[in-house]
């Protein structure tokens, strides 16, 4: 291992887009055992959610999504995490998701925009 120019072991994507007039910064990191997504319009990490596929033998997988930091009364955030973990799981990866989402508005269009932006730039 002479001149080992190691790649950093965690690939990531860093993008910025406009969703309903609000500038949204998205970072998607792919760790060995987790997918980490930050989507923020407010300059902070906002609410952090954890979503994972449950172990089970049935054909249809079940998922567990919980808020680990921040707003616990905003159902749309949980729905957003649930959609993303389903995408991750259906493409074959069993890694859980840590989603950090800080939004100015919690409308369905904004969340759909975030889900589609993350899925378009998938790292799994």
């Amino acid at each position: 291992m002479g001149s080992s120019v190691q790649r950093f072991p965690v690939p990531f994507k860093n993008l910025s887009l406009d969703i309903k007039g609000n500038k949204t910064d998205i970072v998607i990191c792919s760790y060995d055992d987790h997918i980490f997504v930050i989507a923020t319009q407010i300059g902070t990490m906002g609410t952090i959610l954890h979503a994972r596929k449950e172990e089970g033998v049935s054909i249809h997988p079940t998922f567990s999504v919980s808020v680990i930091f921040g707003k616990r009364d905003e159902g749309m955030l949980v729905a957003c995490a649930r959609q993303l973990i389903e995408h991750i799981s259906s493409s074959g990866s069993s890694r859980p998701l840590v989603l950090s989402i800080g939004l100015k508005d919690h409308s369905m269009e904004t969340l759909k925009g975030i889900v589609s932006a993350v899925v378009e730039n998938r790292m799994w």
Partner: protein, 158 residues
């Protein structure tokens, strides 16, 4: 202290600040807007035969950091913030790590040193105090190098 420094730029090329300057609390938002996204900085250091991976994402008034030793696992997640009016820090374990004080003590000391809200993902094994000290030292060095925090004039950590 021998080490190899690597700096890895992401796909959409968000370059970290290479200037050593005092970070000002105001107008940070304008810098981020100009950069077109969050600033993500990745480093790999080798300290005492251990490979430390560090990733620092700067948000306005908040810092996300990931430290890992020899692997690319996410580790335990902690949130820490300064608690006004006294000069203390509050730490919460968000993901795992409740029985492990390595990450929470690093997070607490980072808050005391930087005065910022910190979200720390830490994958450092338990009961390895030298490793913990080295990892924290490297992280603080990088934060100072990137200009996200001012170097302490006294020199010793609390």
């Amino acid at each position: 202290m021998s080490g190899q420094n690597f700096e890895f730029d992401g796909f959409n090329g968000s370059l970290g600040n290479l200037k050593l300057e005092e970070s000002s609390s105001s107008s940070a938002q304008q810098d981020d807007a100009a950069a077109g996204g969050l600033q993500v900085n990745c480093f790999t250091e080798i300290v005492d035969d251990v490979t430390l991976h560090l990733q620092i994402i700067r948000l306005h008034k908040q810092i996300y950091a990931w430290i890992s030793c020899n692997s690319a696992k996410f580790g335990h997640l902690y949130a820490a913030a300064p608690t006004r009016p006294s000069n203390t820090a509050s730490v919460a374990c968000l993901l795992g790590g409740a029985s492990d004080n390595t990450g929470s003590s690093i997070a607490r000391r980072l808050v005391l040193k930087t005065g910022l809200n910190i979200i720390l993902a830490c994958n450092i094994p338990k009961n390895a105090p030298m490793l913990e000290v080295n990892a924290e030292k490297k992280l603080v060095e990088k934060l100072i190098y990137l200009g996200y925090t001012k170097p302490k004039s006294k020199g010793l950590s609390s």
